[in-house]
């Protein structure tokens, strides 16, 4: 088995990242991020005034929602190459990616729905917007476990020639710490932990962006070094 398939999947990530960056930059809801303190009438007015931008990005987001999945799938393959007793971490990782992606898609749908008929009752527009923010910012549990699985596989690897440099594992543990505050966005409507705050919003998204870049680099390197090494066919 050669690594051509893994390399193809891996190189779908840069265009995917470019589209995500585009979606982020043109999404009216993020510039600046809507405050959780807005009243339902203010939220409804905002959606009525930005239908095109919000719907456009909601559709783009819908289409590209799973476009980072191949990157995670290659990560899972590399986890399974680590010399540990089983592939339990690979499976935990894969299922976490599935569940985490689901939350992202539901967030996207909620924003799309709010803009689909912006003349709805403001209470409902506000509810949809709150739901979207909940799904988008708060559920960090799966990506935290994902990164811990990855880090563990690097720490426990018994190979003489490690697949990943050790600092990549440390970096993954660091992202777990940096992503955790977002879960508290459910508790606050203002301040750094609110969903538009520096900890829940800026830090979370920056961490994620840096994380994707680092993992892409590490995976390209790992796959290049894999050569003819057979993968456990889990």
């Amino acid at each position: 088995m050669n690594t051509r398939g893994q390399r193809i999947l891996l190189w779908t990530a840069p265009p995917a990242v470019a589209l995500f960056a585009l979606a982020y930059l043109v999404f009216p809801v993020f510039s600046p991020p809507l405050s959780p303190t807005l009243t339902p009438d203010q939220v409804a007015a905002f959606f009525r005034g930005n239908v095109t931008g919000i719907l456009g990005v909601a559709i783009l987001g819908n289409l590209i929602a799973c476009s980072l999945v191949p990157l995670f799938a290659v990560t899972a393959v590399q986890i399974s190459r680590a010399a540990t007793s089983s592939t339990v971490l690979t499976y935990a990782y894969v299922i976490c990616v599935g569940v985490g992606t689901t939350a992202f898609i539901l967030a996207d749908y909620c924003w799309g729905m709010a803009a689909f008929r912006p003349d709805r009752d403001p209470q409902l527009i506000s509810l949809l917007n709150d739901m979207a923010w909940f799904f988008f910012i708060a559920p960090v549990g799966t990506i935290m476990v994902q990164n811990l699985c990855f880090a563990l596989s690097v720490y426990l690897d018994e190979r003489p020639d490690p697949i990943f440099p050790r600092w990549v594992a440390h970096f993954n543990v660091a992202t777990v710490v940096l992503l955790a505050p977002s879960a508290f966005s459910i508790l606050y409507k203002s301040g750094p932990l609110a969903w538009n705050g520096p900890l829940s919003f800026t830090l979370r998204l920056t961490t994620f962006a840096v994380y994707i870049a680092v993992m892409f680099w590490a995976l390209v390197r790992a796959v290049r070094h894999q050569g003819d090494d057979r993968v456990v066919l889990a």
Partner: protein, 270 residues
Amino acid sequence: MSGSVAEVPKAPTPPAERATSWRKNRKLDQWIAFWSVPFFFNLFGLVFVPLSWMMPPRSPSSTTPHIVDFMQSHNLLIACVILTLAYGLAPVSNACYLMQVRRMSVSPAFRYSMMIGAITGAIVGMLFPMFCFGLGAFRPGYNSGVLTMLYDFGYLAFIGSLGCFCVMWMAFGLAIILDENSILPKWLGYYTIWQYVTELMAAPVWIVKSGPFAWNGLMTFWFAMTLYVSWQIIVYVCIYRAIKNQPEAELDNASAELRQAVELRSGTSA
């Protein structure tokens, strides 16, 4: 029906063993999984069309009284119950694909991508929209605004779920194209990639509320559905042939002697 997997010599199965009963079929697990899928899709069709008339989709620009009437029809609840009982079969069809991809000479990354798409797709494309309809019918007396929201959500999530299927089909198509064991025909790989591109056609359902690109439109529903159903049937026929043509020595439950015999004859182990 000449098999495309002709390289491995056919297993020397004693004819008596094959004929005794279906229970003795060496691929029984795969056949049960395989036939559960047409059963599931037929049930799906019955629930959507004659039972609840959820499909063909009602118009996004229906008048409020029509929407309210539909959302409160009791049959929606029954449809919801049947689908809640049966939706566990949806993963089985994906498992049938995964078994064939597993036989290909491709990285497990393709299977993982498909698995993730399948997990996501079953929730956002089936359970969630189904419950939107069910919630509308569950408690009479919601105001029409709430019911319209559930109606929109139900149809848009059913028809407008795109990304999760895109990743599944991309991975499936690519795996077929890259495979060197000829498990599935190469043209099916290109066809699958093309099917994934036509999926993009459904994107406008999130914007327009009438005409050919609305969620009940000629292009986004009828044309896309025709393309999808024909693709799905063709894939399924190919999967059927792939299961049928899989040499018995390659099965996980093949006897040790059979495997050894094949390995000796072909010289190297797979």
